[in-house]
C-alpha cells in the first residue's frame, strides 16, 4: 500500500515537473534568476564614491570605486573642484532632480524591481524615479539627452547586463561632485549572490572626463521586513509644503 502511494506521488511530481518544463519551453516562464523585490544599497557612495572620512557633509565610508581612485583627465579636474565648491546648491540631490545612472542605484532610499521576460522595470522611492530596461530592443537613435539615460538589458548566464547611454551632463556620481559628460557609457551587471543579496557593478567609460574605463562595485540588500513597501520621497514639493501652500483647504468654522 505504502509503495503504491509512493509511486502515485512520484508520478504526480513527475507530471508536474513535465508541465513546468513545458511552460518554460513555451516561454510562459523563464529560467532566469528572479531579481524582483525591494532592494537598497547600504553604503555612503551617495555622499562620495571614493574612500572618505565622515564630515559635515555626511557619514564616512570605504568607497565603491575599484582601486579607490578615479582616472580624471587633467583637463577635467577643475570642473570636479568647482562642483565640490558649489555642491550644497548645485548637486541634483540638493535640487531634488533625477540623479542619473548609476547614482540612482545607491541613493539612500529603497527601490523595487519588477521583472518580466521582456523588460525589467525599477521604481525608486527617491523622486519617484523609474527605469524601464528593455531586453529585446536596441537603443533608440541619438542624439538624446535623458537624465536617467537609455537602458537596454540582456542576460549573460545568471547576470543581468544593462547597457546605458544617452545621458545629460547634469548628473553627478555623488554629492562630492564627481561627474561625467553626456558621452558617458555605463555597463551594469546585476548578479544575485543568494536570495537576499545582489552584487552590483557599473563600468564607466567617458572619454571627455576619464583617461580609461573604471568600475564601481557594491552589494544591494533585499528588504525582508514583513509588508515592507516603497513610500514617496517627493522632495521637490517640500519648500512649497512647508510654506503651507499645499494642504487641502478646510471649512472655516
Amino acid at each position: 500500500m505504502m509503495t503504491q502511494i509512493k509511486f502515485a506521488l512520484l508520478a504526480a511530481v513527475g507530471a508536474a515537473c513535465a508541465v513546468a518544463w513545458l511552460s518554460v519551453a513555451i516561454g510562459a516562464a523563464d529560467d532566469k534568476p528572479d531579481l524582483s523585490g525591494i532592494w537598497q544599497a547600504v553604503n555612503t557612495a551617495n555622499w562620495n564614491i571614493l574612500p572618505h572620512a565622515a564630515s559635515a557633509d555626511g557619514p564616512g565610508g570605504l568607497g565603491v570605486v575599484v582601486g579607490g581612485e578615479l582616472p580624471y583627465l587633467p583637463s577635467a579636474l577643475s570642473k570636479k573642484q568647482e562642483n565640490y565648491r558649489t555642491r550644497k546648491t548645485a548637486d541634483t540631490d540638493a535640487r531634488c532632480l533625477l540623479p542619473g545612472v548609476p547614482r540612482v542605484m545607491y541613493e539612500p532610499y529603497p527601490f523595487q524591481i519588477f521583472q518580466t521576460p521582456t523588460v525589467v522595470r525599477m521604481a525608486f522611492e527617491y523622486g519617484h524615479a523609474t527605469r524601464n530596461i528593455y531586453l529585446n530592443a536596441p537603443h533608440p537613435e541619438g542624439p538624446i539627452e535623458w537624465w536617467m539615460g537609455d537602458s537596454r538589458g540582456r542576460w549573460e548566464g545568471n547576470t543581468l547586463v544593462v547597457d546605458v547611454i544617452h545621458f545629460t551632463g547634469e548628473t553627478w556620481f555623488d554629492r562630492a561632485g564627481n561627474y561625467h559628460s553626456p558621452q558617458m557609457h555605463v555597463v551594469e551587471r546585476f548578479t544575485l549572490l543568494d536570495p537576499d543579496h545582489m552584487q552590483y557593478e557599473a563600468t564607466v567609460e567617458d572619454p571627455n572626463v576619464f583617461s580609461r574605463p573604471w568600475k564601481m562595485q557594491m552589494i544591494l540588500y533585499r528588504h525582508t521586513e514583513p509588508n515592507f513597501q516603497i513610500l514617496e520621497y517627493d522632495c521637490i514639493a517640500f519648500v512649497d509644503e512647508a510654506a503651507g501652500n499645499l494642504a487641502p483647504p478646510r471649512q472655516s468654522r
Partner: protein
C-alpha cells in the same frame, strides 16, 4: 527561484507542494496566454479634456488656445447633473481658483495647479493622464504613466494598510480582482493634488475606489468613485474608456518625461522666485 524548482525536479526530491504549485502555475500561464480580455498592457489617454475640467471640458479660451473644440462634456456619471457635489464653501474655493488660473500675475503658489509645478498627479488624477502601462504580478500590480515618470504599486496580497499618519500624494492602494476587473481602494491621500487644472480638490480624508474593467481586447473602462464627507455632500463617480495603445511614437516603450528638471509651466518659475526662493 524557478531554477531551484527545476533542479529539484531532476532529482525527484521536490516536495508535493512544489508539484502542485508548478501545475497551478502552468495552468495559469495557459489562461494568461489565452485571448481573455485583460487590463495588462499600454493604454492611450481616455479622459479627453477631463484633466482641464472634470465637469465641462475645455473652457472657450483654452479651446481657442489649443485651436480645438471644447467637448463641453462632463466625465461625471453620478450625480446625474454631471457636477461635483461640493459643499458650498468648497465650491467657492474651487470657483475662485478657476477665476485665478488664467491670471498668473495675481496668482500665488497656493492658487497654481500642483501639476504645473510637476508635482505628482495624486489619485484619482493619475487616471487622467496618458497611459497607463499596467503590469500584473501575483501579489501586486504596477501602473506607470509617462507624465513625470509616475508609478503606482497596488498590492493584492491582503497586507494591512499603512498607518494613518503616513499621507502620500498617491495614497496607499490595495487592490483585488473581480474576475478580470481590477478594483483599487486608495486611502492615506495627503490631499495636496488637485483633481483638474481649475482647482477641484479632495481632502486627506478621502477614499477613492477605482474599477479597471476590460471590455474587449482594445477597450478598458475606468470608473473612479470619490467619498469624502469633509468636502462633498455625497459620493460621486467619474468614468471613461481607454483604448489599447498602438504605441507608435515611442515604439511601445515608456520614454523619459523629466518634468521637474525643465519642462515646468514657465509661470511657476516666476511665482517660485517671488514667493519661495531664498532671498
Amino acid at each position: 527561484m524557478k531554477g531551484a524548482t527545476m533542479r529539484n525536479c531532476i532529482g525527484f526530491r521536490a516536495p508535493l507542494v512544489v508539484a502542485v504549485v508548478a501545475v497551478a502555475a502552468a495552468l495559469l500561464s495557459v489562461v494568461v496566454a489565452g485571448q481573455a480580455p485583460t487590463i495588462a498592457g499600454q493604454w492611450d489617454a481616455g479622459a479627453g479634456q477631463a484633466n482641464y475640467t472634470l465637469e465641462f471640458g475645455w473652457p472657450p479660451e483654452h479651446a481657442a488656445l489649443m485651436a480645438g473644440k471644447s467637448t463641453q462634456r462632463s466625465v461625471i456619471v453620478d450625480p446625474p447633473d454631471g457636477r461635483i457635489p461640493f459643499q458650498p464653501w468648497a465650491k467657492a474655493i474651487r470657483d475662485e481658483r478657476d477665476k485665478l488660473h488664467t491670471d498668473p500675475a495675481r496668482m500665488k503658489s497656493k492658487d497654481l495647479d500642483p501639476q504645473a509645478k510637476c508635482y505628482p498627479t495624486g489619485v484619482p488624477r493619475f487616471a487622467n493622464r496618458a497611459g497607463p502601462v499596467i503590469t500584473i504580478f501575483p501579489t501586486h500590480v504596477l501602473m506607470q504613466i509617462e507624465y513625470g515618470h509616475e508609478y503606482r504599486i497596488i498590492y493584492t496580497d491582503g497586507r494591512p494598510r499603512l498607518p494613518s499618519q503616513i499621507k502620500l500624494w498617491n495614497g496607499d492602494a490595495r487592490g483585488h480582482w473581480e474576475g478580470a476587473t481590477f478594483v483599487i481602494e486608495t486611502t492615506n491621500l495627503n490631499g495636496y493634488a488637485w483633481l483638474d487644472v481649475i482647482g477641484s480638490f479632495l481632502s486627506d480624508q478621502a477614499t477613492v475606489v477605482e474599477r479597471f474593467r476590460p471590455v474587449d481586447a482594445n477597450t478598458m473602462q475606468w470608473t473612479g468613485t470619490v467619498t469624502d464627507p469633509a468636502v462633498f455632500t455625497r459620493p460621486w463617480t467619474m468614468g471613461w474608456n481607454y483604448v489599447r495603445s498602438k504605441g507608435q511614437e515611442t515604439q511601445g516603450e515608456i520614454w523619459e518625461n523629466a518634468c521637474v528638471e525643465g519642462n515646468r509651466f514657465p509661470e511657476w518659475d516666476a511665482i517660485y522666485a517671488r514667493e519661495l526662493a531664498p532671498k
